[in-house]
């Protein structure tokens, strides 16, 4: 038997409803999946961005703010800690490496981050994708997404706020330019899929010097990032530490939580953020679940009504000799087909929504979200489709069991 002619006719008979049902189902599904996919992507991206930040030391205050500012480069004023700490940490046998992170200046809206050449290459893990790392105080290395060419010369401006579009110099930025300070761009980092892709990395010595604090060294010609031996070492907003072992990490974290500093693992802050995100996600998943159930029930009710209006058609088919299984299949496949189309559209729409939301988040935070549909999302759609398929049996069985004679009249 081939019920497709009747399925096709029924769909034509439904007219706009045949489009509306899959669209409504698609929107309901897309909301559920987008929430889940976005949450997963946000966790993956934020955890990956914090990979090179084992331990952070900053001024006492908000742990979350220190992580957001140092790891995700979300510009906020934070307190400074004694720059001399850098030497103490580099001398500490439990520390494999330590680097300052200093921010506050911008170039065309891109944050300028002062650090050491060692941290630019993430202690040897990275190589510039183009050019080289900085070796002079007036040199800079840009992130993968910074729209500045190698060889360009730029002037940094003081201030956190940036009113123009990224890549353009705003009026306020221009008004706060550091006179006589320039950076020559000598290298570009590979893509890290983190906010650092939008940053301009410069020697910490330059940041201090531009702000009239000296360069942290006893002599001007000292190699960049070498031991800071000036009589007075300027302060820094944060120091990132690579401990030699897990035990060392915990000891350092404990030790630098007193005496005017705050030490933390970015991961512990992320876990706390994830917990809050998880609560929000849980609430949204519950709401979305109810939403999906309601949409399914409403859809099946609508299909049941439509089948009720067409019962004479099915009775005629029986009178012409159609087996009961034929009309059951025609109604069930038609209804399930609409739901399946809605599920497929929902998957596509959820990807589109997730990519759109991901692009917005990336534009705002620099964090690249790896949006992908996992097995859990596909299983979610599979369960919905199976539930919809079962519910679609209701109108099909309604037709299957209905006596033919009365329906023909």
């Amino acid at each position: 038997m081939n019920p497709w002619p009747i399925i096709l006719a029924d769909l034509r008979n439904l007219r706009w409803i045949a489009w509306a049902v899959p669209l409504v189902v698609a929107v309901a599904i897309a909301i559920g999946i987008a929430v889940s996919a976005q949450d997963q992507a946000l966790r993956t991206a934020s955890a990956r961005a914090a990979d090179d930040f084992d331990l952070l030391v900053g001024a006492p205050g908000s742990q979350t703010q220190l992580v957001l500012t140092s790891v995700y480069l979300q510009a906020e004023a934070v307190g400074l800690i004694d720059g001399g700490l850098l030497n103490r940490l580099n001398d500490d046998p439990r520390v494999a490496a330590a680097a300052p992170i200093a921010f506050g200046d911008v170039v065309h809206g891109y944050p300028v981050v002062g650090t050491t050449p060692a941290f630019v290459t993430r202690w040897g893990r990275l190589k510039p994708a183009d050019g080289r790392s900085f070796t002079e105080e007036n040199e800079a290395v840009v992130g993968a997404n910074v729209a500045l060419a190698l060889g360009a010369t730029v002037t940094p401006s003081h201030g956190m706020a940036h009113n123009g579009a990224l890549g353009e110099e705003g009026a306020e930025e221009h008004a706060h330019q550091h006179e006589h300070a320039q950076y020559h761009i000598v290298g570009r980092l590979p893509r890290l899929n983190s906010p650092w892709d939008w940053a301009i990395l410069v020697p910490i010595e330059s940041v201090w010097e531009i702000h009239g604090l000296g360069n942290g060294h006893a002599v001007d010609e000292a190699p960049l990032g070498s031991r800071f031996d000036a009589p007075s070492i300027p302060g820094v907003p944060a120091i990132v530490i690579k401990p030699k072992s897990v035990a060392a990490a915990y000891e350092l974290r404990s030790e630098y939580r007193k005496g005017g500093t705050m030490a933390l693992f970015p991961a512990e802050v992320l876990v706390s953020i994830y917990r809050t995100l998880g609560d929000v996600k849980q609430a949204m998943v519950i709401v979305s679940g109810f939403n999906n159930a309601l949409v399914l029930v409403a859809t099946v009710s609508l299909l049941l009504t439509m089948v009720g209006l067409r019962q004479k058609r099915y009775a005629v088919l029986r009178a012409l000799g159609a087996p009961r299984a034929y009309v059951l299949l025609a109604v069930w496949l038609g209804s399930t087909g609409l739901l399946a189309l809605g599920c497929l559209l929902g998957l596509g729409l959820s990807l589109a929504v997730s990519w759109g939301a991901g692009a917005l988040i990336e534009a705002r935070t620099g964090l690249h979200l790896p949006i992908a549909l996992g097995w859990s999302e596909l299983a979610f759609v599979g369960v919905l489709l199976a539930g919809g398929g079962l519910l679609s049996l209701i109108p099909a069985l309604f037709v299957y069991r209905r006596p033919v004679g009365p329906s023909l009249r």
Binding site: M1, A322, P323
Partner: protein
């Protein structure tokens, strides 16, 4: 002579259908009988008219004969007792032996002329055999139907009923049941459908049972049985 005996007296051909003690009751009306036929025989190749006022049980008789409504009593198809068949076997029997024509045509308006004619074939086949396609096209041509790809909803009423007749005749059924086939048509279209039905039935040797109020139609049938309140009140032979 009792009327039930008169309903059988005409037969000159072998019996195709024998009805014995047929009774149809409706539960909603306190179990009142709406059709009560002690005995009736319909011959092979006979063209039988069923007439009577509204509510006389004419359409119910067609539904019962097609196995679409439950009933008490016996309906024999040759040597087979149709009322003893399972639902599945009754569907199969109907598919193989019965062509149905309705007053309101009962086409699927969203399908083409050809798809409507071939619809009963899709009950058995996933892909319509070429032979059936050719037969459907020949029937459509014989019935002067417009292009085969045209949707049924765009046809005139007369054309729609001709499609319905073609659909009923396609499988060359042994029994054609027609419920008021000319009632919704103008005079010319009605005459054309009468001609097509009678020609189709006689060419294939099918038995035609037609419920009708149309004298032009009834006058051309072999026999007309009149019903009133579910009972046979008159039966006579060729009225011509």
């Amino acid at each position: 002579m009792p009327l039930s005996a008169a309903a059988n007296a005409h037969l000159s051909s072998p019996a195709l259908i024998r009805i014995e003690n047929l009774n149809v009751q409706i539960a909603e009306n306190g179990g009142q009988s709406i059709l009560d036929i002690p005995a009736m025989t319909i011959g092979e190749g006979e063209c039988l008219g069923i007439a009577g006022p509204s509510g006389a049980g004419k359409t119910t008789l067609l539904h019962v004969l097609a196995g679409l409504s439950p009933c008490q009593g016996t309906i024999r198809w040759g040597s087979r007792d149709l009322s003893a068949l399972s639902e599945r076997n009754r569907d199969r029997w109907r598919r193989d032996n019965v062509g149905f024509i309705f007053q309101d045509f009962a086409l699927v308006p969203e399908l083409s002329v050809l798809s409507n004619i071939l619809l009963p074939i899709s009950f058995d086949h996933w892909r319509i055999p070429a032979q059936h396609r050719a037969e459907a096209a020949a029937l459509a041509s014989a019935m002067a139907l417009p292009e085969l790809s045209r949707r049924a909803q765009w046809l005139s009423r007369g054309e729609q009923q001709r499609v319905a007749v073609a659909r009923a005749l396609l499988r060359q059924p042994k029994l054609i049941l027609a419920d008021e086939p000319t009632a919704s048509l103008d005079k010319d279209s009605g005459l054309a459908v009468i001609e097509l039905l009678l020609t189709g039935a006689r060419q294939t040797g099918a038995t035609l049972i037609a419920v009708s109020h149309d004298r032009r139609f009834l006058d051309r049938l072999d026999r007309v049985v009149h019903f009133d309140q579910g009972r046979i009140v008159d039966s006579r032979g060729d009225l011509s």
